[in-house]
Amino acid sequence: MLEIKNLHVTVDGKEILKGIDLSIGAGEVHAIMGPNGSGKSTLSYVLAGRDGYEVTQGSILFKGEDLTAKNVEERAAAGIFLALQYPIEVPGVTTMTFLKTAVNAIRVARGEGELDAVRFLKLVREKAKPLNVTDEMLKRALNVGFSGGEKKRAEILQMALLDPSLCVLDETDSGLDIDALKVVSDGVNMLRSPERSMIVITHYQRLLDHIVPDRVHVLSGGRIVKSGDKELALELEKSGYADYAADAA
């Protein structure tokens, strides 16, 4: 699904990622953990194609194609979805309008044709219900005045609607209380399938109690310094990142 080789990335002339190798198979969930400033968010933005993140060396292949040649919206159409740590508030655009615009943009790009209003509404209701996203929320401006939990649920709803094949969840647990974490994690778990891979970026192990990963990687100083199975996350919870930070320096 995703093949990253020797990836070097600079932001504002500063090298943040210093040679990442990562291979994710179809249906696999990989967790990326690491201290602040280790490059976790940079990795997520590079995958999504954000401006200002320059790949200076290495390659990213997504479903066998060079991802770096595609712009942001082409990557979205190809099946990459980034759930943001801090979803952006967009005043004046209702969540429903935004979802319809996004779903149809992606469908058109995938050659599936737009959904009419009735079919779209049916689809939204079906996906929104388990995430506890109410009609009232859908009528509000996108993310405006949403609580932390509502924002993350709205992100997962977008993910469910856009039907991506690689989900990148950037610190999805930040700002969530235990109950909200459960709802969001359940939503993510429902989207797990043999065709869909996930990268779960998190600082803390607790999210991984809910979304159980196949592999765990420790990112520090712009490199993956250790990989293991889910036990690695538990180990980190005990020992902290101090050892790895020292390794990277």
């Binding site: 999504a48 194609g49 954000r50 401006d51 712009n71 942001v72 919206e73 990557r75 979205a76 159409a77 979805f81 980034l82 943001l84 979803p87 952006i88 967009v90 005043p91 004046g92 655009v93 935004f98 615009t101 996004a102 779903v103 943009a105 992606i106 790009a109 401006a141 977008q158 856009l162």
Partner: protein, 438 residues
């Protein structure tokens, strides 16, 4: 004597004509001929406003107009059909040209009248409405002085009278178009408890110079919704001043959209003369190329207990210049005033310019007033966010620009017109999209 004044004298060269017979093509009444000459005198004394006057700091009319006034231009204006989109609004349509007012007003309800201004100049209500003495101690004499030009050279206009208690269900649509130079006046009077919605569309042709003044009187508990869409040719000059007086409990719901003209200056002078009145003076401007759009708003709280809201939002692309000069004046007696004023602009290009000067001038102590001004660019994070959900860059920008402006559209009370404004805005952005794809 200033050069402008000399040009006025030799250039218009029609002073004698005015003295003898009034301005060409316009009926005259004794009182008005006197007012016209007085206006000409004071305009000649002041000359055209220029950059060194604070109220005209960003719009040098002397430079812009001198050339135009140096010759007498034929009134060549002819009103065409109103802009296509507004045709969809069921309204009483009046075509306002240099030489008259056309339309079928037979369906107007009893007590609502639309007339040629020249035909009713001697009516008391017209004379009262055109009497500027209520604004005599206005706090913006520099800005108001340009109205003398209109009075001196007035060539026509429309008079609308809505009688006591008459509620007009359908809007009146005043469609301004035509070419050349036009000095026009609208007199709009709503008597006690009357209610109306007046839409103005402006579609002047290439190189036109529109000099427009509206004298509006809202008597006790009268209610006026006024929506203007200025879409003159982008080579035109558009100068518009509104003098609006609100009596006790009167409500003004005003909205202006500035899209057209090479140079436009809109001046709004709102004055409360009765308690418990409420005025909304909102606007949207969307300018590109080298367009220059100046919005000057003075709200004068002369009596207690009135509420005013001024909210402008603009988008400026390419090398366009936007100007907002707002002033809320709260006089010593005007306790319990609620005055709010804000201007927010989005610059879509590094070459665009915004000048904003919001001011509060408060002499009463028990008031609630606020003002604000922001100038920014499109939020890059938001553009990225929308693109990461599959929208292409132009669509993402369009959505964000429309969303930015929507707060002002949302406040427009006429639903049909509100939808049209949104369409007009998105068409403007589709043009922008074309540019970005070039």
């Amino acid at each position: 004597m200033t050069m402008a004044a000399r040009n006025m004298k030799t250039g218009i060269a029609e002073r004698r004509l005015i003295e003898e017979a009034g301005a060409p093509g316009f009926a005259h009444a004794g009182w008005f001929d006197k007012a016209r000459l007085a206006a000409l005198d004071s305009f000649e004394a002041a000359g055209l406003p220029h950059r060194r006057l604070e109220d005209w700091r960003y719009t040098d009319l002397r430079q812009i107009l001198e050339k135009r006034l140096a010759r007498v231009e034929e009134n060549s204006g002819r009103s065409d059909a109103p802009a296509g989109l507004l045709d969809a609004v069921d309204a009483y349509v009046a075509l306002i040209g240099a030489d008259g007012v056309e339309g079928d007003f037979s369906a107007l309800p009893e007590g609502a009248e639309i007339m040629r201004l020249g035909d009713v100049l001697d009516e008391g209500w017209v004379r009262d409405a055109m009497d500027a003495s209520v604004f005599g101690n206005t706090d913006a004499p520099q800005a108001a002085a340009i109205i003398d030009l209109n009075t001196a050279l007035l060539g026509g206009g429309v008079a609308i009278h809505i009688a006591h208690g008459v509620v007009l269900e359908k809007p009146i649509h005043l469609a301004f178009s035509g070419n050349g130079t036009r000095h026009l006046r609208s007199v709009i009077v709503l008597e006690e408890g009357a209610s109306a919605c007046i839409i103005e569309s402006h579609q002047a042709g290439a190189n036109a110079f529109s000099d427009l003044v509206s004298d509006i009187r809202l008597t006790r508990n009268a209610s006026l919704t006024r929506i203007r869409i200025q879409n003159d040719d982008r080579s035109a000059i558009h100068l518009a001043s509104d003098r609006i007086v609100l009596g006790e409990g009167a409500v003004l719901d005003g909205f202006l959209m500035t899209l057209g003209a090479a140079v436009s200056r809109n001046q709004s002078f709102v004055r409360f003369t009765g308690e418990g009145a409420r005025a909304t003076v909102n606007g949207v401007y969307a300018l590109r190329g080298s367009q220059h759009g100046d919005h000057f708003c003075l709200t004068d709280h002369a009596v207690p207990g009135c509420e005013s809201v001024t909210l402008y939002k603009g988008v400026l692309d390419e090398a366009a210049t936007g100007i907002f000069q707002g002033r809320v004046l709260v006089r010593p007696d005007a306790q319990k005033t609620d005055g709010r004023q804000a201007n927010h602009a989005l610059l879509l290009s590094r070459e665009a310019t915004m000048n904003a000067k919001p001011e509060l001038e408060i002499y009463a102590d028990d008031v609630q007033c606020a003002h604000g001004s922001t100038v920014g660019e499109l939020d890059r994070d938001a553009v990225f966010y929308l693109r990461s959900r599959g929208l292409d860059e132009a669509s993402a920008r369009q959505l964000l620009i429309s969303a930015f402006l929507d707060e002002v559209f949302e406040a427009v009370t006429h639903e049909g017109v509100r939808d049209i404004l949104r369409v007009i805005a998105s068409e403007w952005f589709i043009q922008e999209r074309g540019r970005h794809h070039e």
